[in-house]
């Protein structure tokens, strides 16, 4: 199997790593870079819990090979805000939009990207943006309310 030296930025920091061809971006983040905020569940593109931003665009990191990310920029939940929590994170706390919490990083990442692109989304646009992410606790109502609330305070 081929190995590849790649350079990428994760949360603003530059990394140079060697990856095997079959390693996904998800596994690179969790196993090699030890950023476990990005969750691993189905690993087949269904659940969306591994969503990160790839060059600012929400992407399921289990559906991307690490080697494909050479020269690109990744943002994970660890880098989604600065010192302080961002508006989406604060709204999630306010609305109790977290139950078991396993899907929360993915929703935070996708919602933050949505509000950056579209600061005043409709409820339909919020649903569309998070449509690829599953919450097994089914707490979607609170999640949608939190994102809409964050859009008002942003």
């Amino acid at each position: 199997m081929s190995k590849h030296k790649i350079a990428l930025k994760v949360n603003g920091q530059r990394y140079e790593v060697e990856v095997e061809a079959n390693k996904t971006l998800l596994r690179l983040l969790r196993d090699d870079l030890e950023m476990t905020g990005t969750k691993c569940a189905c690993e087949r593109g269904d659940c969306g819990l591994c969503t990160v931003l790839l060059d600012g665009v929400p992407t399921k990191s289990c559906m991307v090979l690490a080697v494909e990310v050479d020269g690109h920029e990744v943002t994970t939940v660890e880098g989604i805000s600065g010192e302080e929590l961002n508006a989406v994170q604060k709204a999630f706390i306010k609305h109790g939009a977290v139950q078991c919490g396993f899907c929360t990083p993915a929703f935070i990442v996708a919602a933050t990207a949505l509000l950056k692109r579209n600061p005043r989304p409709t409820e339909g646009e919020v649903k569309e943006a998070i449509g690829g992410i599953l919450c097994r606790c089914t707490g979607y109502r609170q999640i949608i309310d939190a994102i809409l609330d964050a859009s008002k305070s942003a």
């Binding site: 199997m1 081929s2 590849h4 095997e20 061809a21 079959n22 996904t24 690993e43 087949r44 593109g45 269904d46 969306g48 969503t51 790839l54 665009v57 929400p58 992407t59 399921k60 289990c62 559906m63 991307v64 090979l65 080697v67 494909e68 996708a110 569309e128 943006a129 449509g131 690829g132 992410i133």
Partner: protein, 285 residues
């Protein structure tokens, strides 16, 4: 754990055709990878080489000209297609089908070419390409050729691609003026799932009326139903013509029962969706 392979990323079409000529039997092409990575993880596909086509600039272009219509490079993502104003306005069946496929995050990676090369009977985009009369441009070391999308699907997960060939672009001619198109997907959930039935249609009312209908998830390949056109050529009210077209669709398809539903339900819903989309597009009540 995913199967082991060598990753190759050609930068030109020439490099790609050379690689394919050498490794065709052991290689799989990757555009978005959203089908391929799952199949390799499940060890259904065990290619020795994975050839990523995203490094070839020509394949990333979506172009439109009034003369030739739409040309969608093999590495163009579904969200890039959805962002195109011209696709939304003129190629509505394709635009709606692209938007019905999986979810927005997958569509940031998934491509139209990948969807047709996967050749799933449940492809969302294939019925739209069938009603639009698209062509597929293929290339290999031996040269180029163009085939109608109708001839591209050869069976479940089987295409007309020959050894060493790759899909270079999908060409969609301009619909007749005044044509209206759409795609309806019936699934178990509103979110991401494969279609129980998918129906694309394009209707032209001006001049000689034309009605094109194609479906997914109801036969071994996505299918066009030319008989629907005949239903609109005879006499009768708009409602009667729609009923005839729906009957033609139900008579033509051969659905199976699977994890999503039984074949009887698929047949029934194919008729319902055909009526629904034709009413929408013709304005009949």
């Amino acid at each position: 754990m995913m199967v082991k392979f060598d990753y190759l990323k050609p930068r030109t079409e020439k490099e790609l055709t050379t690689l394919l000529a050498k490794h065709a039997d052991e290689a799989k092409l990757m555009a978005g990878g959203t089908d391929l990575l799952v199949l390799m993880r499940d060890k259904i596909l065990k290619p020795r080489y994975v050839i990523d086509i995203k490094g070839i600039p020509e394949l990333r272009k979506l172009e439109y000209s009034e003369q030739h219509g739409l040309r969608i490079g093999a590495a163009v993502t579904l969200n890039e297609i959805l962002a195109s104003k011209i696709v939304h306005e003129k190629f509505t069946a394709l635009w709606e089908a692209a938007g019905a496929l999986a979810d927005v995050t997958i569509r940031n990676r998934a491509t139209l070419a990948g969807n047709i090369c996967n050749a799933s009977p449940a492809s969302d985009t294939a019925p739209a390409l069938l009603v639009l009369g698209a062509d597929v441009e293929l290339k290999s070391e031996r040269g180029e050729r163009k085939i109608p999308i109708l001839a591209f699907f050869r069976g479940v997960k089987k295409t007309a691609l020959e050894r060493g060939e790759f899909v270079r672009a999908i060409l969609v001619p301009n619909p007749p003026s005044g044509a209206k198109g759409g795609y309806l997907k019936w699934g178990r959930t509103k979110g991401e799932d494969l279609a129980v039935v998918g129906v694309a249609a394009q209707v032209t009312n001006s001049g000689k009326p034309t009605v094109r209908i194609a479906l997914s998830s109801v036969a071994p390949t996505p299918i066009l139903v030319p008989e629907a056109q005949k239903a609109f050529e005879g006499g009768g009210s708009a409602g009667e013509k729609i009923e005839k077209a729906a009957a033609a669709v139900v008579g033509k398809i051969c659905p199976i029962s699977d994890v999503r539903c039984c074949k009887e339900y698929r047949s029934h819903m194919a008729g319902v969706l055909t009526r629904r989309i034709l009413k929408q597009l013709t304005g009949a009540s």
